[in-house]
């Protein structure tokens, strides 16, 4: 049982780390600001989400698990809001309103 949970953790955390790598490569290689923003949100939402999911498979108390999920939800909410705001300044002729 513990072996299966460990395998799930390794799978989810590795996938999350891969999304961080992909987000960084995208941030460095994509040609314009808006597509770089697209790469960044993948790392933010999916990368962190999968890392949190992987850690949830490790045995811990309910409260500690809830706290991990809270961190992810806060990042999702902040990421979605902040991405809209940054996109507004990155848009040609943006940041005027």
């Amino acid at each position: 049982m513990s072996f299966a949970l460990d395998a799930l953790t390794i799978l989810a955390v590795s996938t999350g780390a891969f999304f961080f790598l992909a987000g960084t490569v995208g941030l460095l290689r994509f040609p314009d600001a808006l597509s770089r923003l697209h790469a960044l949100t993948k790392a933010d939402n999916l990368g962190l989400g999968l890392v949190v999911l992987g850690l949830l498979f490790q045995p811990e108390e309910l409260f500690a698990g809830l706290k991990l999920v809270t961190v992810w939800l806060l990042t999702l909410l902040a990421g979605a809001t902040v991405t809209q705001l940054i996109a507004r300044t990155a848009r040609p002729g943006g940041a005027q309103e």
């Binding site: 923003l37 890392v51 961190v71 705001l85 990155a90």
Partner: protein, 89 residues
Amino acid sequence: MADFLLAAAGFVLATVTLGLVRILRGPSEADRIMAAQLLGSGGIAALLLLAEAMSVPAAVDVALTLALLAAFVSVAFVKGFARSGADGA
């Protein structure tokens, strides 16, 4: 298991640190704040992994604080950018 989580934390941290090259290259201010944003979320992930790997539950609180501050950074940037843009126009 702890070794794997520790390695994953190091990998994520090294990756987002590499992303900081974008701050040097720019070209726009928005690109620079994006790299800082990526460092923020990568730091959160690394802290969560460290908390589990080294059995330091307090690191989750640090991650929560970092998530809050990372959001504030970008909001402050956009506010400041809009103001300076309005002055320049």
